[in-house]
Every structure is written in structure tokens, then in C-alpha cells.
Point group: C2
Chain length 123, copies 2
């Protein structure tokens, strides 16, 4: 309790308001994207969407060995991370890559990769 309070005071007192920011925007954003990609089903969805440009929920569900409720959940996460988008084409829903955000993803990741080009290391 006490420990938490002390840490808050030293870390988050930004312009007089207690914020909960501990890491840089880029770090947070990169982590959010990485986490969204952090499940094989979601990687599979992204690759499948990329291979088709766009498709319906049902097609995605067919590709995956999981229940549709779970597919829907994964799609929701990808969408809320901004990696994909969906639009209703009743009674179906068409999903596709969110190209605009994907440019950001690429930039952030390639910046990270560049940083970690790295010189020497623990031998």
C-alpha cells in the first residue's frame, strides 16, 4: 500500500495530475500491437486476411480450429488494437486489414528492429 503510493508520487506526477503513465507512448503502442499479434490464431487471421484482401467472418472461422465465439473474440481484439477493420454487409460481416494503422505498425517495428541491429553483445 505504502510502497505503491511512493512509487506513484515519484513516477506519475505530471502537471499536477496523477497520471498512470510509466512508459513512452511508442513503447505502449508497440506493446499493444505486439500483444495483439501475440496469439497464433490472430497471426493466422492476419495472414489469411492479407492473402485475400478481405473476407467474411465465416471464412475466417472455417480456417481456424476454434469456436466461432472465440474467433469473434480474437477479431474484436485485433480490431480494438487497430490491426483490422470490419464492416457489416448484411447478414455477413466483412473483415480486412486496417491498412492505415498497419503503416504505423511497420514503422514502429522497423524502428525497433533498427535499434536492435546492435553492435556487439555478450560474446
Amino acid at each position: 500500500m505504502q510502497g505503491i503510493l511512493v512509487r506513484c508520487i515519484t513516477q506519475f506526477n505530471i502537471k499536477g495530475i496523477m497520471a498512470s503513465k510509466k512508459y513512452s507512448q511508442n513503447q505502449e503502442q508497440l506493446a499493444r500491437y505486439a500483444r495483439a499479434m501475440g496469439h497464433p490464431a490472430r497471426i493466422a487471421i492476419l495472414e489469411y486476411l492479407a492473402s485475400l484482401d478481405s473476407c467474411f467472418f465465416g471464412d475466417i472461422h472455417n480456417e481456424l480450429p476454434i469456436a466461432k465465439a472465440t474467433v469473434s473474440q480474437h477479431l474484436k481484439e485485433l480490431k480494438s488494437a487497430g490491426l483490422i477493420q470490419g464492416e457489416i454487409e448484411a447478414p455477413k460481416v466483412r473483415y480486412c486489414i486496417n491498412k492505415k494503422n498497419w503503416l504505423v505498425v511497420k514503422t514502429l517495428f522497423s524502428e525497433l528492429m533498427k535499434k536492435i541491429a546492435c553492435k556487439k553483445c555478450c560474446k
Copy 2:
């Protein structure tokens, strides 16, 4: 129960043994790396390590607003994902990027990015 069994039979009956593989190796590996990067503290650690080539646990702990037990936990995850390595330099522990695996990371991610270069999309 029944549903699970059926799915297993159709999905995993590889050379007569019930395997639990549902996704490709690359998808699994990519997801593992992505998940390891899926926390801002771990991104911060990676960037910090990259900026220094190598450093001690204590330096990393100083950079982060979290308890040392938690830092240790994050380092463990990065290590088990193969993104970093650590070696004892008593009484300290020196950490650094795992360069060899990082090449794989780069390859897998840039392949994914290339796939998602994508043509057109949901307008």
C-alpha cells in the same frame, strides 16, 4: 466434450498420434515473439539493452518503475522467448540482446509485414 473430440480428430491426427498442433510453426513462433514483446516494460528493456549492448540487472531495474521481482520475471520471459540472454558475472548478472535469435525475429516479422503490404482493402 464431444465437440472437442471431433475437433481434435479432424485437426490433429498427425501420423497416428493425436498432436495438439493447430497452427503452423511460423505462426506459433511469430506469436511467441510478439507475445514476449507484448508488454511495455519488456519493450523498454529491449530498447534499453539495445542502446547499451549489455548491462546488469540492476541497471535495468533502475530504468523501470517496477519491483525487482517483477523485472526478474520479465527478463525471464524475454529469455525464455529467446529475445535476450543473461550471464552471471558475479555477483551481478549481465543481460543482452540475443542477436542470433533476433535475426529470426526480424525475418519472421518482415515476412509478415511483406504479406500485409496488401493490395486493396475494404474501401
